[in-house]
Symmetry: C2
């Protein structure tokens, strides 16, 4: 098979054994827009023993029982009171019995539907999905310049997300279309995600009305009755650490959960600032915050699918700036994974999120420090896996492409080692014996492409050949690939009536909404 | 404590709890040339179940029993015959009973002595040592230019290795001093390693005489009688895959093992070319090759300390060039670690070895793909962890520095999570409650530096601040740090009589040896 830029891509399970090179050549005819679902076939890494996980769990429970969590609006505290929690104003103290009873209602696995059923994915269990970044006001453009994002950029990133076979979602606000007034921006973001891609997408959470617009737009595409009960959009709600769920987030939870749409309940924790300066202490707090959010969604709609999660980075002591790929971020990820499995919850973490300003060596070190942990910790929804630079302030075209290629490697990694041709490989050793080489054996010819990761943005050519090609850095090669990919984009099919109805809805809401926030 | 470039470095176990900031400030007075030994306090990652490891072991045994391994010289086959192996010419077929009996004689842990006893390290068990790269004909210099290495460069790298507290060895041929005639080169390499650093070092294996010169030079520094029995120098012998140990390597094994000096028995495997195109098949073959080498050292000197090992990279199908940080390299590392634990052997792998020509994003992705696996696979001797570029053809100053900083992170990672201040961290949560921040709590002030990795070559400053500093890439910042470090170097103490004796030995051998290989 070829992918979007004509590279040969062989992913186990991607096609049946095809009878050698001819078969493979035939399969290369059509570009591949999505790898088969990633089902992890390797063990998770259990950093801490069970007793330590229980100790952390116990401290999380004590936080919610004794310190409490704020739910800062009118509705949530009343709902908690009715459920039996100890409520004083907006401060809610939740007994572990009640909390765990609510958490247990969340399905451990569910299907997130795409408008193209072939792109639907399972969330939870051994399934892992890769989702590109979200929320960048800036872009690093194809010439390496940093500037504000535009709708044109956002559309480009939705196109790339659609074409990258490694990605399972178009995300939504990959970058902010800064030229569009804030009150109207969400309409164009969702319209672009839904029309440029037929993969799952993400919602908007910045106000109740905007969340409702998302549900309506999803209804236009999937049908209102489908969206009432079937997960089609995943949205992010962040707890304000320490221990505050604010009205905006609670509104978003109510809109989405009432439609049975999954919300990611993830504290955005700057460890050392919004948590204590202890990785274990930070995990105990974030776990309490995330579980309080998860439990609240079950007061809205019991049994609704939800995603437990975390975004935990340490902060630079000198400036307070968030860091990216540090050892503690990886360690905390492992522990959150262990907790998620204890609670049998689908869970989200982040992959290639870095502090580096550019797609340089720092970005690379940071990215694979984190992704290795994300994969081995058994995360189900690995977010921010394409484009992320500058602690999320910028999305880079080159970073987007280089990240996607790395994901092909992680696909192979998570697929585990195959024993199916072990006997044949051992026969090849007998055939060759001491000395000699294996390049001409039938086993090699049959298995080479499948056996090893063969990237093309990464450059393994001899020095002289690399030099003859212009001595390009990985960053430059990533930009080249982005240009090539964008020139190959084809819009996925959508009924004209749906395209028109979406456009009408956007136009109508544009007329209704103000240009500035009053 | 400060390290070589004045950064604050806090490694658990590096100093006793010091009573707060004053204590820490006092400790920053003296530069730190070596972190405390790295004892891994995290579990290993077991990629495969035990049954699969047994299956691979069984296939390795069959290779040695049925196909055999060549020992291409006069002495080794005779020694094998005397030990009871089935020998035909240079082809040696080794029964698994005999093989495992010999392998079992190798100590599972031993001390590698440095000339400064404070720098001696343990090899095996839960201990991990980090050793800089070896063998580069080229350097990427401080201005980013690629050129042949010189003695001046080599001395610089030995200085940096001495100063980097993360490194446990000066290696030896970090880069080749290309201006020195080959027959005399080893003398200057070893003299530089022994005089510019007081950490353990590595030997030369390119001929029997050169290996003997290394033993003599070690004798001058450590005393001949000490070197007769105590490990002071680790050397690399590579099997020529498939299944050939050549005379040069066998000579080196005999010189070193007869002095009780450890040899790394590591096939240099280009998977797909010198092994079958199957990661599992490659592991089974490399395991057979390494074990055959390990067993042979025990015929030379039973009970001598040895290091089982591997260097396994996949090859680029288009050019045959070796790759670096690929998923299969990581997977194979995990399996080799499982095999090493089965055999109770200290084992070597490689850390930051990349195919990238420059210290760019590719180099970063590759580096941490591999190091993550090296740490989690429980490797004891992690080589090529500083400087490596271009599949080993070049050593970069900037890469050397950025790798060393990353190693500080890996130190923290491998040290595991600390529960000693968990109660205090939880008290801080009670003190702050919902909302607010933790920056001013006593727990934070006391623990911040210790809690989190705080690198300085990596840049987490806000964009504007980074831009004001010249928008430097990680590669450029690495070169800056190398310049700063070299300007701060101080030679470690060595008795003048030893310095003179080494110089005399070098001068004498220079007179004896030809300038060209006859």
């Amino acid at each position: 098979m070829t992918n979007w830029v004509g590279d040969s891509v062989v992913i186990e399970g991607g096609h049946k054994r095809s009878g050698g090179r001819d078969g493979r050549r035939a399969l290369r005819g059509a570009p591949m827009l999505a790898f088969p679902a990633l089902v992890r076939e390797i063990p998770t890494y259990e950093l801490l023993p069970d007793e330590a996980i229980e100790l952390i769990h116990d401290e999380s429970m004590k936080i919610l029982e004794e310190v409490g969590c704020e739910f800062r609006d009118d509705q949530a505290p009343a709902m908690w009171k009715a459920a039996g929690a100890n409520v004083q104003g907006t401060l809610v103290k939740i007994d572990r019995g009640l909390l765990m009873e609510l958490v247990a209602k969340v399905p451990s696995e569910f299907t997130l539907h795409a408008r193209n059923p072939e792109r639907s994915v399972k969330i939870g269990g051994k399934n892992t999905v890769f989702v590109p970044m979200y929320g960048a006001p800036y872009v690093r453009d194809l010439d390496g310049n940093r500037r504000y994002g535009t709708l044109d950029d956002l559309q480009n990133f939705h196109k790339l997300a659609q074409m990258a076979p490694q990605l399972h979602s178009a995300s939504s606000i990959i970058c902010e279309p800064m030229e569009i007034p804030v009150p109207k921006r969400h309409l164009h973001i969702i319209q672009s995600a839904l029309t440029h891609s037929d993969k799952p997408f993400m919602g908007i959470v910045t106000s109740k009305e905007r969340a409702e617009d998302v549900i309506k737009m999803a209804g236009i595409v999937f049908g209102d009755s489908f969206v009432k009960d079937n997960p089609v959009v995943a949205s992010i709600t962040n707890c304000n650490s320490p221990l505050v769920w604010d009205q905006t987030m609670l509104d978003a939870m109510r809109v989405y959960a009432s439609h049975n749409q999954p919300v990611i309940l993830a504290p955005f924790a700057l460890c050392g600032a919004s948590t204590s300066a202890s990785p274990i202490g930070a995990v105990a707090q974030v776990n309490a915050e995330a579980l309080a959010g998860v439990a609240y969604t079950q007061l809205i709609r019991a049994g609704s699918p939800q995603i437990y999660g975390q975004f935990m980075v340490t902060v630079d002591m000198k400036t307070g700036a968030p860091m990216g790929g540090t050892p503690e971020a990886a360690q905390m990820m492992f522990v959150m994974g262990q907790l998620a499995r204890k609670y049998k919850l689908p869970w989200r973490t982040s992959g290639f999120h870095v502090g580096s300003k550019v797609n340089d060596a720092q970005a690379g070190y940071e990215s694979n420090m984190l992704m290795h942990a994300a994969i081995l910790s058994g995360a189900n929804y690995i977010w921010h896996v394409a484009g992320w630079l500058e602690a999320g302030l910028a999305c880079g075209y080159s970073k987007f492409m280089t990240d996607c290629e790395q994901l092909s490697g992680w696909y192979k990694y998570a697929g585990g080692l195959k024993f199916d041709d072990f006997k044949e490989a051992m026969s090849a050793v007998r055939e060759i014996g001491p000395a000699g080489h294996f390049l001409g054996t039938s086993h090699t010819l049959e298995n080479f492409e499948k056996a090893f990761f063969m990237p093309t943005i990464m450059d393994f050519n001899p020095f002289e050949q690399w030099q003859a090609g212009g001595s390009k850095t990985h960053d430059e090669r990533g930009s080249d690939k982005a240009r090539l990919a964008l020139s190959n984009y084809e819009k996925p099919k959508m009924d004209e009536s749906i395209t028109d109805a979406l456009a009408e809805f956007v136009a109508k809401r544009e007329r209704e909404l103000p240009n500035t926030i009053s």
